[in-house]
């Protein structure tokens, strides 16, 4: 049979090479699109990190079910950053140099986004980030984008609703106490609160931070009470949010408005643990069940998320971070598809000039990579009874005070007389 072959030996070799090259080209086209990130899967913010990861995995599965991006299936490469900023540079260096990922996005929170920034800037990478507060103010990086709706001036936009609500009281308040944890996010939030105090002519009577591992917050609350502030603005992470709210109730803090930047009451864990202690607290949220009709697109996502979250022991509500984690990936997806590639400069340029349809609504970015307009909802908790999680899925536990287009009621003040 060999003698009957029409191909000479050199032709056979050339043919084999050609087929090999063609096959390898096909294989390259089908190589997965690898997206790398660090995520807090252990440590103090692991509850949020895990919830964000679930949302991102739902996005990945949705995209892959539709055939991937540019015909390539999406794959995640991620590592646990242990909620520790120190681990972040190593993680992103490994993702880029060893794992050779095609794109990177951030983990959850200011603390882990900031240490990744120098690497992104050195390598000119487009960096989509998840819930960093005002990180780019220090870097001014033109390929930085952030999905939390704090607006173009995040530090100020973050607490705008709180101070608007405070200044709507009659008579107008004159004094404010500012308190927060010794960490990146609270520092940024307090910076914004100081600007508000300056703008509105409020006298700052207490302005202090506390170590994140504080056990008993009652001495802090008593020190605040001793200054008799009319407004108390708090910027805290989940364990200290719980500690502050408990201490405020134990000490019986008398003030006209309390809250503002407590991270934690947005999730089921703290909502259910604190229960009625939250009544009267004014705090930021990104969604309220009372606004269901204004966020119809969320239902589809929440149905998928809540089913998985229940199994994996993370926030069973998913109103806060998960939809935005999904939206962050939607932005990236739409930008890659539109630019037909992974050119970092083109991606950044496209994200800057476009508006994106996402599960959290239309998203556009300002020059500094933050949302073009703020959409932080300032809300007041009321009517919470017991510790049942179901009550938080229904309307009637949150009054949205701002922004105007979402407002469902007015502030009830003073705080200590409205804890129902």
């Amino acid at each position: 049979m060999l003698g009957n072959s029409v191909l000479t030996a050199p032709r056979r070799v050339l043919g084999a090479l050609f087929i090999g090259l063609a096959l390898s080209g096909t294989a390259l086209a089908q190589q997965p699109l690898k997206i790398g990130f660090g995520m807090s899967l252990t440590g103090p913010l692991a509850g949020n990190g895990k919830a964000a990861l679930i949302a991102m995995e739902i996005w990945r599965d949705d995209v892959n079910a539709k055939g991937g991006i540019l015909g390539r299936k999406v794959e995640f490469v991620y590592y646990d950053d242990q909620t520790s900023p120190a681990t972040v540079p190593g993680i992103y260096t490994k993702l880029l140099d060893v794992d050779k990922v095609d794109l990177v996005v951030s983990g959850y929170g200011t603390n882990v986004i900031a240490p990744a920034m120098p690497i992104m800037m050195q390598r000119n990478l487009t960096f989509m980030t998840l819930f960093g507060l005002n990180v780019n103010s220090k870097f001014n990086y033109d390929r930085y984008f952030q999905i939390m709706p704090a607006g173009p001036n995040p530090a100020v936009g973050w607490s705008q609703g709180f101070f608007d609500a405070a200044m709507s009281m009659n008579p107008k308040p004159k004094t404010v106490a500012l308190v927060g944890a010794d960490a990146e996010y609270p520092a940024m939030a307090l910076e914004g609160a100081r600007e508000h105090a300056k703008k509105t002519g409020l006298k700052i009577v207490y302005d202090k931070t506390y170590p994140p591992n504080t056990v008993d917050y009652s001495p802090i609350v008593r020190a605040i009470q001793a200054t008799n502030p009319e407004i108390v603005f708090v910027a805290s992470y989940p364990p200290d949010s719980a500690g502050m709210v408990r201490a405020v109730n134990e000490v019986g803090l008398k003030t006209r408005i309390f809250g503002g930047g407590l991270v934690g009451p947005q999730f089921a864990a703290l909502k259910t643990q604190l229960g009625p202690l939250l009544n009267g607290v004014v705090n930021y949220e990104f969604y309220a069940p009372d606004l269901g009709s204004k966020f119809p697109f969320l239902e589809q996502f929440l149905a998928k998320y809540q089913a998985r979250a229940a199994k994996e022991g993370v926030d069973p509500l998913g109103f806060y971070l998960p939809p935005y984690a999904y939206a962050m990936m939607q932005v990236l997806d739409q930008a890659i598809t539109a630019t037909k590639g992974l050119d970092q400069a083109k991606l950044a340029e496209y994200i800057h000039k476009s508006t994106f349809d996402t599960y959290v609504g239309k998203v556009g970015f300002a020059k500094n990579g933050e949302w073009a307009a703020p959409r932080v909802m300032m809300t007041q908790y009321h009517g919470i009874t017991g510790n049942d999680v179901e009550q938080f899925k229904k309307p009637g536990r949150l009054t949205v005070l701002s922004p105007k287009e979402y407002k469902t009621g007015d502030l009830k003040a003073p705080y200590h007389e409205n804890k129902k």
């Binding site: 008993d216 109730n249 864990a269």
Partner: protein, 291 residues
Amino acid sequence: MEVSWALLANAVIAGLLLGGFYAAMSVGISISFGMLDVVNIAHPAFIILGSYIAYIVNDRFGFDPIVVSVTVSPLFFLLGMALYRIYYLCFERRGQESLRGLAFFFGILFITEVALVLVFGVDYRMVNTRYGDVTWRAGEVDFPMRLVVPFLVSMVMVIGVQLFLTHTFFGRAVLAVAQDQLALRLMGVNPVRVKELAFAISIATAGVAGAFLIVIQPVQPAIGREFIGLVFAVCVLGGMGSIWGTLLGAFVLGLAESFTSTFFGPSWAPAVSFGLLLATLAFRPSGLLGR
């Protein structure tokens, strides 16, 4: 800020209540590190394990977490015995307890954390108790039951451990191990057995302290790491191997934290606490009540 007697009295009460909690967390370290010379860096991991056991029973059956922790403390005792036996066989017997033993307890710390993450997830957990949201007021002084109940049980536990060590034959054997193991051997007592039981007591106290922790604040699997420095600081400040010293050290740190938070600013609290530790060690290297 106007300094009033009420503010001062509240700072004292808050400091004492906090100190009581710190004493419960540190008494086990005082036994294992101070008396037995076992650097159990995983002690906070057992505290967190105690928190989760209290949580799961409270969540499923509604039992009080502190009652649960006292009930399951024999299990922690057995766990402590097993752990010491492994430590002894693998490291202490071979004279490798210093660095390798430390690595062993680091390993235990991480394994416990990962196991808790796998079983319970990474979300914060807290318990519901009848007294959790109750505060007694005596005039202008507050007594939050969330801290008072752990404080009272802690006092019973710490004083109980001290009485046990000083008033029983076995307790005196533990103190003897801390001083001279060879002498103990010459008297026909097996120091390994004594250390095994004493280490088990230290782990049992960690389990109970875990219930206090989850009554006071929400807990997640990695939160124990935040207390490693504190428990060793209390033990060293009070005096190695002295239970009364541990109690005194815990009160000193609790009061320092409370006063700093109230009158100067909470961010200074760790600096003041550890500054006190350094100053004490400079003038009294064996700690407040150390020999």
